[in-house]
């Protein structure tokens, strides 16, 4: 039999759980399209290999990326992507607000040419891991085909 103390505890737990679970996210598709503004290229694919190294005071990670879908500039079936951040010899470097390419997952990448090296560089917000669901691949909860359709309208 649950007494008054027990019911009070249950009520408190419910209040806390409810407050913590209530959420109203922003529109992820809008955010992806906004991040792609001015991008010359979007690709879908997987990392083949990665290497991090120090260059001029920054740790840069180079990812050989296998391309299975692309929108925008014509690219070969594998491209080299250069991104800021990584780990070398026990030192880590990271950019706040930015994701990193995770070699264990497929990604959608929004890419620009690095003005210094000419290599492909993800823009801010341009590294988007894919999730595999029962109904297909998604990007931040949005169906991949819907995302690619939207991007086709902004990437020329």
């Amino acid at each position: 039999m649950i007494g008054r103390v027990g019911w009070a505890a249950i009520l408190l737990v419910s209040v806390v759980a409810g407050a913590r679970s209530s959420a109203h996210a922003g529109d992820p598709l809008e955010a992806i399209v906004a991040a792609a503004s001015d991008a010359p290229l979007a690709v879908v694919g997987e990392a083949i290999r990665q290497e991090s190294r120090w260059e001029n005071g920054g740790i840069w990670t180079y990812t050989e990326f296998s391309v299975r879908r692309s929108i925008g500039e014509a690219v070969p079936s594998a491209i080299l992507v250069r991104e800021r951040g990584g780990e070398v010899d026990g030192i880590g470097q990271r950019v706040t607000h930015s994701r990193r390419i995770d070699a264990s997952r497929p990604h959608l990448l929004l890419l620009w040419r690095d003005p210094e090296t000419g290599e492909w560089l993800p823009g801010i917000g341009g590294i988007l891991p894919l999730a595999v669901t029962a109904s297909g691949e998604t990007v931040d909860g949005v169906d991949l085909e819907s995302v690619l359709g939207a991007l086709a309208g902004v990437i020329r």
């Binding site: 649950i2 103390v5 027990g6 737990v13 806390v16 001029n56 920054g58 880590g92 950019v95 929004l110």
Partner: protein, 266 residues
Amino acid sequence: MRTAPLAVVLLAIASAASAFQRETTDDPRCAEAPNVNCQHRGVPLEWRTFPVPFFVDADSSGLATGTVIEVAEDAFATWQNASRNGITFRFDGTTSVGGSNGDDGRNVIHFRPFVGGRDTFAQSILTYDVETGELLDVDVELNDNFSFAVLPSGQNDPTDPRVDLPSVLTHEAGHLLGLDHENRFGETVVMYFSDTTGNTSHRTLSGDDRSGVRTIYPTGGGDDGGDDDGDGGGCSAAGSAGGADRAAVVVLLLGLVATLRAARRR
């Protein structure tokens, strides 16, 4: 017998209200949104030697160097005062860097055009020891595709296309000292993930922000330099890297079980 389990439950609830997030060595980024924090799985990042020096490179800011220096000093002083000198900063001069260098031990604030990210006002480059979490170098980059200004105090006008430099630098200084975004308590928190042009509200720390810096850098004593804290520092108890949330839920459930069992034994 009945009060002890209830006390455990209440203590767990209080500690579950962790009001800040710490940067760690393993922070997989996510799609941030209101009420959505990213995970923090690694060793928390923090400075171990003080004062933390910083430099200013005002090139391409569109502002006078003296203005940028003054704004930067005020931003760091805001956090230092909130920490009651648990963390201290020191302005070490101006420089012309041409880019962030995480290998020189100089924490530089500078301006450059961002590639992509047309909604991103600024970012920080954190360099740290992977094993200990010690911060080694943090450079703050401001996106000079935007027009930065010192806006009139109290302004909140999103139609103004200018970005309030004091607000942005106060936010980035929070990253520099080891705080990540806290998205559960609204836009008044300086470490909230988003901001708008024309807004000056992120010049002022919330209780949640203060809790964060005081937890990471407990005071070593000394004058707090006019700390204007009037609200007791927010609602947190422990707040290490967000893990306190999960621990608090476990304690909460154990307390609830104990409470129910105590009630049944009456």
